[in-house]
Each structure stands twice: as C-alpha cells, then as structure tokens.
C-alpha cells in the first residue's frame, strides 16, 4: 500500500494499474478523478482518497474457487482470517450498508472479541498473532492499523468485495459476538459465538485469501 501521492505527470491507466498491482490501493489527493480500472474512495474527514484497482467485469479473486485453482496462502492464514473477521464485526456498524469505511475501533476491543472466540488461549498469544495479522492485513490494504494510537479500521480493499461475498460476510457477522458498543445492551449480550473454524473458513475464501492474490508480485 502506498503512502505517497501520485503526481499528475501524464502516467496512463496502464501504468497506474501496474503501480497498484505492485503497491496495492493508492493514496491520492481527494479531488483527482480515478483512471479507468479503479474505484475511488474518499476517506471521511482525512482529506485523502484511495484508488482501488478493479478487474475487468469486476472479477475478484473469489473466481479462483469456481475455477478450482488453489487460493493464495498467507503465513498463519487462519489467524489472519480470524482477525479480519473480528475487525469486520467490530468496524462494520451498519450491515445493511457497505462495510467501508465503517468505524475505527480500539485494538483492545478486537483482542477482547478474539478472547471470547478462543477463551482457552493466553492473552499474550492472542496479542502476538493479532499484531502479525494487523501488519499483514494493513500491508495488503484490508485493514488500517494505527500502532501508536492503538486503533484499527477497515482498509480500502474491503470495498472490492462483490455483492455475493458481502452477503456471505453479513451472515458471518450476524453469527459472531456483538460488536463492542452493542455489547452493553442486554438483548444482544447473550449472542452465541460462532465456532472459530467456521469464521475463518468463510472469511478466508472471501477476503484474506484474496489479499495476497490482489497484491501478488508483492513489491510493497
């Protein structure tokens, strides 16, 4: 993912696409129209926008499953998928709308939900895997982790999920523990936790797995 801003220097759509292939979604000034092949997302209140690359006919890495091709793998893929699922649950406040941009949440809230999903695991183990996953998922544009502020929010790549993928993810979120702000409400506090394997299997196919494919050639 790039922190630099593209200069208006005559680069064409093909070059921007190649750059996004190498760096992931591109951070740009908000007023610049995106080239063909990109979706433009304006960060609320931040004075910047993202150019997120989109495939022809909006095809996503989920197509690999239909083609019976191997999905890309991450280090500790299940851990990364679980962390992404929990962040999605915490940040995606209005399930009727699209997940991006969602809200920012404290890392502590994410760790608390992870502990709820896997109560037998030690807090320091949760913390170690979560930090590694935050780093991987931030590098590939699925999350934005502010290490100093101790907060996390959804990255621009989540805006590339197709309608079918979003529907599966909505369903996943409904089966997970309530997000922190809702947790205080007695009517939702007793919601059952989804089995962890279920959570990562579904997110892996829709999200974390495609993180790597979309950022392949990995020159970030």
């Amino acid at each position: 993912m790039s922190g630099r801003s593209p200069a208006p220097d005559g680069a064409d759509a093909a070059l921007w696409a190649a750059r996004a292939r190498a760096e992931g979604p591109l951070l740009v000034p908000p007023g610049v129209p995106a080239p063909e092949g990109f979706r433009r997302l304006v960060e609320p209140g931040a004075g910047v926008a993202w150019w997120v690359p989109v495939g022809p006919d909006a095809v996503t890495p989920a197509a690999l499953r239909d083609l019976r091709l191997g999905l890309p793998t991450l280090d500790h893929r299940n851990e990364a998928s679980r962390v992404l699922a929990v962040c999605l649950r915490c940040c995606w406040t209005d399930l009727a709308a699209e997940p991006w941009p969602g809200r920012e949440v404290a890392v502590a809230a994410v760790l608390a939900m992870l502990a709820e999903l896997l109560p037998t695991r030690l807090p320091q183990t949760h913390n170690r895997f979560a930090v590694e996953a935050f780093r991987q998922l931030t590098d590939s544009g699925w999350l934005r982790w502010d290490e100093r502020a101790g907060t996390v929010r959804l990255g621009p790549r989540v805006a590339t999920w197709s309608a079918a993928e979003l529907e599966a993810l909505r369903e996943l979120c409904r089966t997970m523990p309530p997000a922190p702000a809702e947790a205080a409400r007695p009517d939702t506090a007793s919601a059952e936790a989804v089995p962890a394997e279920d959570a990562h299997a579904r997110v892996a196919s829709a999200g974390a797995a495609s993180a790597e494919a979309a950022s392949a050639e990995g020159s970030r």
Binding site: A11, A13, A14, L15, A17, A18, R19, R21, A22, E23, P35, E36, G37, R39, P53, V54, G55, P56, D57, A58, V59, T60, P61, A63, L64, L67, L69, G70, L71, P72, T73, L74, D75, E132, Q136, D139, S140, S210, E212, A213, A214, S215, A216, E217, G218, S219, R220
Partner: protein, 211 residues
Amino acid sequence: MTHPADDLLAALSERQRDEVIAAWAALEYGREPVEEVGFAALRDPALRETLRDVLHRSGRELVRVAGRRWTSGYSDAARTELVARGWGALPEYDRAVLTTILVHSVAIPRSEGRLTDDSWASATPTTVAELRSHTQLARGKLNEALQRLRTADLIRAVRGAESAAYVPGAQFHRLTPAARRLLQEELVLAAGPGSPLAAAIRASRETGGPA
C-alpha cells in the same frame, strides 16, 4: 465504473467474454501458472491475442512458462516505467535478503552447471543461517523481511532441512523473457563483477545492444 479493456471485451460474444475473464482471473489472481488446456482463451489463438491485449491495458503481459503453461507479468514497458519512477520497489532489507537467496539458490548452482535452463526455479535452498551471515541482519529484521517475501510469493519455504530454508517463489514465473535476461545480467554483475561475462555485459550496455 469502467475498465480500460471494456472496448475489447465489448467486441466479444458473451461466451467469449466469459472465457477471457476466467483466464484473466486465473492468470492475474492465481498463484501458479495455469495449463493451457483448461482455458479456451489460452487454447484459441485469436482469443489468446484478445487476452494479451486486455492484459496490456493494465500494464501486464501474457507470459509462457515451460510447456503449455501460462501466467502474466508486468509488461516490459510498464516495468521500465515503474523502475524509472521508483514505484513499487521492495524495501531495502527485502531486496538484500532476496538477492542473497537468488545468488545461493540460482546463480551459484547455475555457474556450477547444476541449473541449466533460464528459469528461476531452483532445488538448492538457502538456509536462514546463510542469510544471517551474508546479510548481517538482526534476527527480527530478517524474520520480518522473510515474512514479507513469503507473503508476496517471492520466496518459498522448503521443508525437510535441519533449519528453515528458502528457494525463489512462484512470482519468478511471471518474468518476461527480457526481465529474466536483465535479472540474470544483474546477478552476474553483482556476484562476479570482475568476470569476463560481466565485462561483456557492461560493454554491451554501453553500446545499447543485448548481451
């Protein structure tokens, strides 16, 4: 939302369009090269040219791997521009670690005649101990660089050795013939700058011709 290849796709029948999109997804998102036989847009020469044109619109090229397997990579024009603008470059540590692996796993075996083709597939792993001694990176920095390179499929862990060891990853299939040649030359210049081959490469570059 438009795509720079929309006009090319609009000229196809619905079935042809689906075939081209399926092959595009397999090439661009798939981890490994795919077999030609599995994709009509790779088998059919006319559709394959359309697929190549669609890839060009986003700075990509259709790349043939040994036999009848295909993948995609940066087009030579896009690669040259990205490098010239400093876009998409790996962090310095990652480059150092990757170069060490390429020297150990590819350049040295090739100079000893143990690796004969021009691919970057290698059966000679580079151990973490070798990486630590050659890059002089602290363990934490080295591990972070290795994780990024693994995630990007630029390297692949090999099991069975006493300690962790790595060979170049699937991304090296994506190099075009020109990119493979350039990387080969750079490795010769890095590993044997005083060799006659390095002198020949330098002389050729000064005159602007191929090595």
